[in-house]
């Protein structure tokens, strides 16, 4: 049970995740799933729901951190077109693995959140776009959805009300860029996932040019608690401008990697030392990627940074999806950067020249650097190319590709120099 005293909340999305059998409707209901849904459907109207989500301060948990209630309020009414709700379960940002746990252990929480969101937005058809590799998770979601249909929690006239909503799991097929919401829409329309130029934003013209809301799994899974306990309750958890709990996916050089849901604002050091069993080697990390591989790295001087949107931004990076990748003193930062540059080159969809050409270029130079075939001029090329890619493309993949390179050059110039041909000889 989630306590109604915000200071006593220890989990929202993960509150029931470790209870045995939670993926089945019977157990989930015994543990409180769908208990507040009738109240929402019978006693709240669309405006009231959106208002509560706005008050809650909930920001999109997929990476961009856009206020969820505001996003919902952009959806135009009475357009004569259907409105679609798409759950972004593409979870491809290297370092991120939180949505997987919600879906495989507590699928009904996501379904419940989607029913409430769908009701607030007047949605009749909703989809969960799940990355293709998550076959097991897709199967768990499908089994839960089948149970929900049988219990009249989905389908026509949900729980005897006038509200009807259908929910379909749609598997992607291995393309990182499909986590970008307009690429996701393109993919859901049966095409390669190439991001669309904005505006128009999906809220106005999305899936088949109809009003569409795309929300991350964790965002939607937070909705039931917000509506049950109220927006004010949620706003009191965490720190100003970063309300609520957040799941941090911690990986890399820690003793106990994994997902930890903690109040926003917790210092990074506390998360690593008290939750993750500390670093594998040494007392402070060599570098930390705080929000997934596309976010700039932080150095040991930021080990006490509060894990919140504004504070991480001030430190020079982004909270992103909450994927914390820790590098201890043993990390080969040049090799890691080279590997990430391969990732972005592989995943570039190819429609914008700076990204298509730039990502390949960065990878080739990084490979040559690692092999000892670069000179000082090549380092300038890395810097220059990265700076000219970021912000010059339709989506942010190019910015993500630039982030590790620029971080490496900024934080570890000596290590980079030691790889140069003239210094290797």
């Amino acid at each position: 049970m989630i306590p109604s005293d915000p200071s006593k909340v220890t989990a929202i999305c993960f509150d029931r995740i470790h209870l045995p059998g939670q993926a089945t409707l019977e157990v989930a209901r015994k543990n409180g799933a769908y208990s507040y849904l009738p109240t929402v459907l019978n006693e709240m109207n669309r405006e009231q729901i959106i208002e509560q989500v706005k008050i809650s301060g909930l920001r999109g948990r997929g990476g961009a951190g856009f206020p969820t209630g505001l996003k919902w309020s952009f959806v135009p009414r009475n357009t004569g077109k259907p409105t679609y709700l798409l759950c972004n379960a593409d979870e491809g940002e290297p370092g991120t693995f939180k949505d997987r746990d919600i879906m495989r252990f507590d699928p009904h929480l996501l379904i419940e959140g989607m029913i409430m969101a769908g009701f607030a937005l007047g949605v009749h058809d909703a989809y969960i776009y799940i990355r293709g590799e998550f076959l097991h998770e897709a199967n768990v979601m499908n089994a839960a959805i089948k149970e929900a249909y049988a219990a009249n929690l989905l389908g026509e006239h949900i729980l005897g009300t006038d509200f009807s909503m259908h929910l379909t799991v749609h598997r992607g097929a291995g393309a990182y860029v499909c986590g970008e919401e307009t690429a996701l829409i393109e993919s859901l329309e049966g095409r390669p996932g190439r991001p669309r130029f904005k505006p128009p934003f999906p809220a106005v013209e999305g899936f088949y040019r109809c009003p569409t809301v795309v929300n991350n799994v964790e965002t939607l899974a937070t909705i039931p608690a917000i509506l049950e306990h109220g927006g004010q309750w949620h706003k009191q958890i965490g720190v100003p401008n970063s309300a609520g709990m957040k799941i941090f996916s911690v990986s890399g050089h820690v003793n106990k990697p994994g997902n930890y849901e903690v109040p926003m604002g917790m210092p990074l050091r506390v998360l690593v030392e008290e939750y993750c069993g500390g670093l594998q080697h040494g007392d402070v990390p060599k570098a930390v990627i705080p929000g997934g591989s596309s976010t700039p790295w932080l150095g040991p001087e930021h080990y006490d940074v509060p894990l919140a949107y504004d504070e991480i931004h001030k430190a020079g990076s982004m909270l992103g999806s909450g994927a914390v990748i820790i590098m201890d003193e043993t990390a080969d930062v040049v090799a890691l950067t080279r590997r990430l540059s391969h990732f972005y080159a592989h995943e570039s969809c190819g429609q914008c020249t700076p990204c298509r050409e730039g990502t390949g270029w960065l990878e080739r130079v990084m490979l040559r650097l690692e092999a000892g075939g670069c000179n000082a001029r090549d380092i300038e090329v890395l810097q220059d190319a990265s700076e000219h890619m970021a912000g010059r493309t339709i989506c942010a993949l190019a910015d993500g590709a630039a982030a590790p390179i620029l971080s490496l050059l900024r934080m570890f110039p000596d290590e980079v120099n030691s790889y140069l041909a003239e210094n290797k000889a």
Binding site: T96, E133, R171, S249, F343
Partner: protein, 175 residues
């Protein structure tokens, strides 16, 4: 001169009645049949093992879309394969979280054990080893997918055992 795929010489393949019913149900879930393209390609790959041109033609005909639309999608998404793989597809993630926890050494060990390079299949057709991008399970690094089943915190010994078990099962099957 236009680039055309000559489909007249290809062996005809078809979906069975059960699959066609499943496809009808899939199509009904979307505003437009084209949205069912990825799900139907998954279904086809599951059934045929991979997606050669005649299977892509079948998918195009079934959904009433152009063959080039199918080709465009098949070649864009890495999970769709135009070439057959070994019976056991071993996909090793070597992205950040896995790399920091020994994935590259693991991949090297697997290739050495099997006597193949990344992307190749063993001569007996049993194992294919590939390197993949972040599998979204970094808490269990290093991660190897074996025929789409996630194996986490994988060690060289774990992989050796898995390979040995698979070989034993195959030998048993033949005898």
């Amino acid at each position: 001169m236009s680039m055309q795929v000559d489909t007249t010489q290809m062996e005809k393949v078809s979906f069975n009645a059960e699959q066609l019913e499943e496809i009808r149900e899939l199509v009904a879930r979307y505003p437009h049949p084209r949205s069912a393209l990825l799900p139907v390609l998954h279904l086809a790959q599951q059934h045929f093992g991979y997606l050669p041109m005649n299977v892509q033609q079948l998918v195009a005909d079934t959904l009433d879309v152009n063959l080039m639309q199918v080709r465009e999608v098949v070649t864009f998404y890495t999970m769709f394969r135009e070439q057959p793989t070994g019976k056991y597809l071993l996909e090793v993630c070597t992205n950040a979280g896995c790399m920091l926890n020994g994935a590259c050494e693991l991949l090297e060990h697997m290739c050495r054990t099997l006597g193949i390079r990344v992307g190749e299949t063993t001569p007996d057709g049993l194992f294919t080893v590939t390197e993949v991008e972040c599998a979204g399970a970094c808490g269990g690094a290093p991660v190897v997918q074996v025929n789409n089943v996630y194996h986490e915190k994988v060690t060289a010994e774990h992989m050796d055992q898995l390979i040995a078990d698979a070989r034993a099962q195959e030998d048993g099957g033949v005898a």
